[in-house]
Amino acid sequence: MARGDVWENFSYHFNDTPYNKEKDYLKHYDDKILIVSNFEEPYLCAENKCLVLNSPQADSDNTLKEIKSSLERNEKVMITAQAISAPYNQYDGMRYHLLSKKRNYPKTEGEKIISNYKLELIKQWPEENLKIYFIEKD
């Protein structure tokens, strides 16, 4: 086997978007509302009830209202690190989208939302810098 073949065969089997790790993990939580970024939406929102940040439909006031009412109903409210940092450092395939790498604004929509709450980290993938938190009642 030539060296080129070795590399080619390996690389084909190493490609999976990091968002699929979140998707697999979240399958095990029932009755939850998930706050995600628009980059995560195609991967996570088919099977989960979602509020999407950084999307044309996003509405901060509505998001805050939904969080509050879900917590009052004792539902699990979860937020991803990608939602907190959106629109920055968003995965497009295996790597960060080029345009999401440069941060221009001091505070993201997600950061503003979580400033009202305490978070409990429930899962992280350190190498991909992905995290999922529970949003807790005050």
């Binding site: 086997m1 060296r3 070795v6 089997h13 190493f14 095990h28 409990e120 980290l121 992280q124 190498e127």
Partner: protein, 246 residues
């Protein structure tokens, strides 16, 4: 309080714990630290059989009152496990000092799900690079300190743990590399990596010689002479997978 045990006193929490393990009549549930049988009673209602282990014989009188589908062992859990008893689920309000040693011990046991009450701090540890090779851990919820007698001094949580499938079956090469390196702590890194890469190829039905595996490793500029430290394992395995995907 003996043996750093906090006794659960909240029936709702006990019921939720049994639910978290998705307990059914076909299940044989191992309960570690049965205490007065508070959780055992709830497990016995849902499971086909319960194997309740309690080291403290002063609970004998309480545990005599349990239903017929409960077998009680007054012994150390490690000795009971050495007897190769069969079970498929584990439910426990773990004494905090037993959490880590038992989580390590259960790596080698055959089970489907664990539902545990344990210190929140240890739940975070279950997500570290070592335990996450073997387990997926889910936080069901944090618990009130007053749900225990005496009240716990730190935050406690209800946690569900699912055993992960073998990484090679799931084509999770990074986890396979990590597992291989953790399980061969005294081997030289280049030898472990070479073996692991060859096995990954074998699992795909392809042949790779050790020389070809060496060729891959030598292009990575890793420091290869010392046995790799546990802290370095995640970054080494990630680096390999990243490099190979380029």
């Amino acid at each position: 309080m003996k043996l750093d045990q906090y006794f659960l006193n909240n029936k709702e929490v006990a019921k939720k714990l049994v639910e978290a393990a998705e307990t059914k009549k076909k299940d044989v549930v191992l309960e570690i630290g049965a205490g007065r049988g508070f959780i055992t009673e709830e497990i016995a209602k849902k499971a086909g059989k319960v194997i309740a282990v309690e080291i403290d014989e002063s609970f004998k009188r309480d545990l005599k009152k349990l239903p017929k589908n409960v077998d009680v062992y007054f012994d150390d859990i490690n000795r009971v496990l050495d007897e190769k008893i069969k079970f498929n689920k584990i439910i426990s309000n773990l004494p905090s000092s037993l959490a880590e040693p038992l989580a390590k011990r259960f790596i080698n046991e055959n089970f489907e799900v664990m539902a545990l009450l344990l210190p929140l701090k240890f739940f975070h540890k279950l997500n570290d690079p070592f335990f996450s090779v073997y387990y997926d851990s889910f936080l069901i919820g944090k618990l009130e300190k007053e749900s225990f007698s005496p009240p716990t001094r730190t935050s406690w949580a209800m946690v569900k743990i699912i055993r992960k499938k073998e990484p090679l079956f799931e084509k999770d090469w990074e986890r396979y590399l990590r597992k291989y390196l953790y399980e061969h702590p005294s081997a030289k890194l280049k030898n472990s990596l070479m073996e692991a890469i060859v096995r990954i190829y074998q699992s795909k039905g392809k042949a790779l010689t050790k020389n070809q595996a060496r060729e891959i490793i030598s292009s990575l500029n890793l420091s290869l002479e010392e046995p790799v430290s546990a802290q370095d394992i995640p970054s080494v395995s990630q680096k390999i997978v990243q490099h190979l995907s380029n």
